[in-house]
Amino acid sequence: MNRRKFIKYSSATAAFSAGFNLGKIPVWAKTLDLDHPDDNVLVIIQMFGGNDALNTVIPADNDLYYSKFRKTLNIPKSKALKLSNTNSYLNPALKNGKNDGMFGLFKNGNLAVIQGVGYPNPNLSHFRSTDIWLSGITPANDSERLESGWLGRYFDKVNEVSEHPDCMNIGSSSSLLFSTGTADVGISVENPNDFYERGKDLLSGEGFLTGSGAYVDERNFLLDLSIQSNKYSKVVKNAFDSGKNTTEYAKGKLSDELKLVSRLISGGLKTKVYLLSIDGFDTHAGQGTTDGKHAGLLSEISNAVSYFMADLKTQNLSKNVLGMTVSEFGRRPNQNDSNGTDHGAAGVMFMFGEDVNGKVYGKALDFNNLDKNKDFVYQYDYRSVYDEVLSKWLGSDGNTTNQILGKRFESIEGGILVKRSSILLSNEKPIQSLIYPNPTVDGRILLKTHLEPRETLTVNQVDSLGRKYAVFQNIQMGSGQTEIPVQLIGKPGTHILEVLKADKKETVRVIWL
């Protein structure tokens, strides 16, 4: 995606900024292949089994919840956590973890609670509904095959071969989410050290086969797997070794996995999407209430997510990370007699991160509006969320989003993401100027900065000995969020860029390896 985007940018800027000396765009900028010009990362947590939305976000003001549907399997109102001025309450297990867990994130405006998410004609099979969620396709009938994932299709379309894996499954096998239909844009990683040890000596010296047929397909698939493992195991190990964690995490598989994700991001891995999964939500029996199976799972998520976000914040990386939870369905409004709940329909989604407009979306689950199977009716199509994530977080343009999802979906209540953090967005609020990539291996960087209309820009480079070089002097680049290619002067080392605008001066540090 990047090379293509970069070229688009370069020519657009050139045409746009009459005051800018075209000669100043270095030749290399036109062919620069940055892995990812922005550092946005998406983390998806898949809650497998069908999360009981009703006991996750509780309509505790509704008496029917206690008197009719969940006579024993309920969260007492006295223990539930009221979500600002709404009549929805959070399960108290979601207060576990760092700084009051997910509830703490909500209070800080960093957690969106989206109620009643689903799709038309809900399918109550774990596997079919999981495929529907991962594919981003609501099939016309049960026999329609779902063979690719929404993110698989997206990265297949926009990306070129990258040194870094686009997507990653942590601790589980390949997912439909990352399938293009014929290939996989994701790899699976559990332990970077093991991965490296196993990957480095994996090549067989056998070659790919040409021709067609099942044998050729399967053999090439396996051979490609060993070549990819060999290649990516080094990249992942490098990031793991240069990354760090700044906090302890709670115990548990999901915590361990998010800890790994944080370290990989910290170490500069340019993977865009991480998929993690937590199993056990199929609570047909012995579900528990404020204690027990379901509360334990929610607690595990709250712990893992809150420490993860705290870790990233300490490292100044939290604004790059958006998280979301998905689950194939919610459960039936009524409990069964084995202290459990059976498969239902509409569910709840969480999105977390600093770019999230943290509040409650949708109305509390409504017992007076059930479908023909006596299940909750959805309010929002799950693909509204995907559309927004693609467009605002992953840099997809409208046409591409349209192709990936089959059509465009309206944002939920005006949008869950506060702003688009992609480097290419021009209407972003002024923030500290940024540099990509940093560190740079060849001294070629992009300076991203915000300019007011007709504001002039001067950029100086200061090397480690304090010597100052002029890079640009009083140029005009148009307005809004702008990227400027810069070739650093001198030799590898630590350099400071002084960014001088009409009334302010910023300094940005860049490391040239």
């Binding site: 026999s143 099942a214 059976d342």
Partner: protein, 493 residues
């Protein structure tokens, strides 16, 4: 097409058949099939499923748990801990026990079919409730005994199978608010597949299965034989149910177990009658994926329909279907050779038949490769196909097999090579090893490549001397095998 083929088997044919129908075999086994008629050897594989020696049960299969809830509160935890310790230790033992059976069950389709049914009627021991290994053992024995038997009988028995009652919550399902778990999966995963029933069918079916229990305690419910399902008639819904457009009539005045059992038989009969075509095609497609190719092509649909008709015409007997499939021109055709990605069971049981791997190491490797016996990932069993190989499991499998081989002594390798003919002829030896372990007959380039690995730069004529010196020859064989497991051809079958 799915025409009978009945022809004399060459070496590659024999190996193909053994790879697909058994977990482990040696060069000697392959030679037993070469030159025989394909129908004859398929019949041998099917016959041995019942003729091979029956497994000897583990020691604890009749030893129930102690109850804990009548003890003083202070003593309960100790018994609970003991129970869960047994759950894990004995189920782990059962996994190793089964792997042994897979290794020992030679020239027989029995353990492959047993695994097929385990993957189909999936049950996990690792759940919250204490799943007694004796229940898993009994279910495993049910699959083994009926592996080529009658599908209707299998369905009727699985509905009240003890391990299944635990896994899909049947034991907790009562008439007041029935648990839908088993009722849904019976249709979605075990018989029709999605799209052939309504949510009402799921709810009505759940009523049929209410009230069934299984006793796992030595000192409780003594009127019920231990590990046998029984009905708690108070918890069963004896009223009539409307299922798939059929009334399953009940009788609330005579609340007997026989009556509840009859309801189950009627329900199964209703599925097999009303949905006979979809059920037979659903199962036959699964058998096709298991034995032929995990990714059926469009043109295979017609073949699956032929198999499905055989299934229905034979009153749901499984053996005629498997027999027809394995005796077909399709099964022996070149298009389906080497197209299956090996399951961890095939990979690990296969290689440890050849190389001595101690303790629970091989079982641990299978777990990390994604196939823990008796503990599939979820109710749908193992998804199979390309899910077997990813950047986590594939490099791991290669590494571990390398360690397996590295751990052999050099003389052990020479002893292992004893099964081959003309061992001192390096070219012939390589050819046999590649035939045995590679998905397809090796190419000339592969034979050259791996012969070089074997000889390590020495000329051909040195091999007899190297082979006679077991330290040298054995070491070269190790390096060869470590190299072989990296090839994609090793991982296909």
């Amino acid at each position: 097409m799915l025409r009978p083929i009945a022809r004399t088997l060459g070496l590659a044919d024999a190996i193909h058949l053994l790879r697909r129908t058994t977990h482990a075999f040696s060069w000697t086994h392959t030679k037993a099939f070469v030159g025989k008629n394909s129908d004859t050897v398929v019949d041998i594989l099917l016959m041995n499923a019942t003729a091979n020696p029956k497994p000897v049960p583990p020691t604890w299969v009749n030893a129930g748990f102690k109850t804990w809830w009548k003890l003083p509160a202070a003593d309960q935890q100790k018994v609970v801990d003991e129970v869960y310790k047994r759950v894990y230790e004995e189920n782990y033992e059962l996994k190793r026990w089964w792997m042994e059976e897979m290794t020992k069950d030679n020239l027989s389709i029995r353990e492959k079919m047993t695994l097929f049914w385990h993957g189909h009627f999936t049950t996990k021991f690792a759940i919250d409730d204490p799943m007694h290994a004796a229940l898993m053992y009994r279910q495993n024995t049910l699959f083994r005994n009926l592996c080529l038997g009658n599908f209707r009988e299998l369905l009727e028995k699985i509905c009240i199978d003890g391990a299944m009652l635990f896994f899909l919550n049947g034991k907790d399902s009562t008439k007041n608010a029935p648990n839908e778990n088993f009722s849904r999966e019976l249709l979605e995963l075990y018989t029709t597949g999605i799209g052939h029933y309504t949510e009402d069918d799921v709810k009505e079916g759940a009523r049929v299965f209410t009230g069934w229990k299984v006793n796992i305690f030595t000192d409780e419910w003594k009127q019920y034989p231990i590990f046998q399902p029984f009905l708690n008639s108070d918890e069963h819904d004896f009223n009539s149910k409307a299922y798939l457009g059929q009334i399953i009539s009940g009788d609330a005045s005579s609340k007997t177990e026989t009556l509840a059992l009859q309801e189950i038989k009627t329900l199964i009969n209703t599925i097999l009658l009303k949905k006979s075509v979809v059920v037979s095609e659903f199962i036959c497609e699964k058998l096709f994926r298991f034995f032929v190719y995990s990714k059926p092509q469009a043109e295979d649909e017609a073949l699956i329909k032929i198999l499905a008709k055989t299934f229905r015409d034979n009153n749901w007997e499984i053996k005629p279907v498997v027999s027809q499939l394995l005796k077909s021109d399709l099964f022996f055709s070149d298009a389906v050779r080497g197209v299956q990605i090996k399951t961890p069971a095939e990979t690990i049981v296969g290689i440890t038949k050849h190389f001595d791997v101690k303790g629970d190491w091989k079982e641990w490797v299978m777990v990390t490769m994604g196939q823990e016996l008796l503990n599939p990932p979820n109710v749908a069993g193992w998804p199979g196909y390309r899910k077997w190989a990813d950047t986590r499991t594939f490099p791991f499998a290669v590494q571990q097999m390398g360690y397996f081989i590295w751990n052999q002594s050099n003389p052990q390798m020479i002893t292992w090579a004893g099964q081959f003919d003309e061992k001192e002829n390096s070219g012939r030896l390589i050819e046999q090893i590649l035939q045995l372990f590679f998905a397809k007959s090796p190419t000339v380039a592969q034979k050259e490549k791996y012969k070089k690995e074997l000889l390590g730069g020495n000329p051909d004529y040195e091999w007899p001397n190297m082979f006679k010196n077991s330290e040298v020859g054995g070491f070269r064989l190790k390096l060869l095998m470590i190299s072989l497991v990296k090839s994609p051809d090793f991982h296909l079958c």
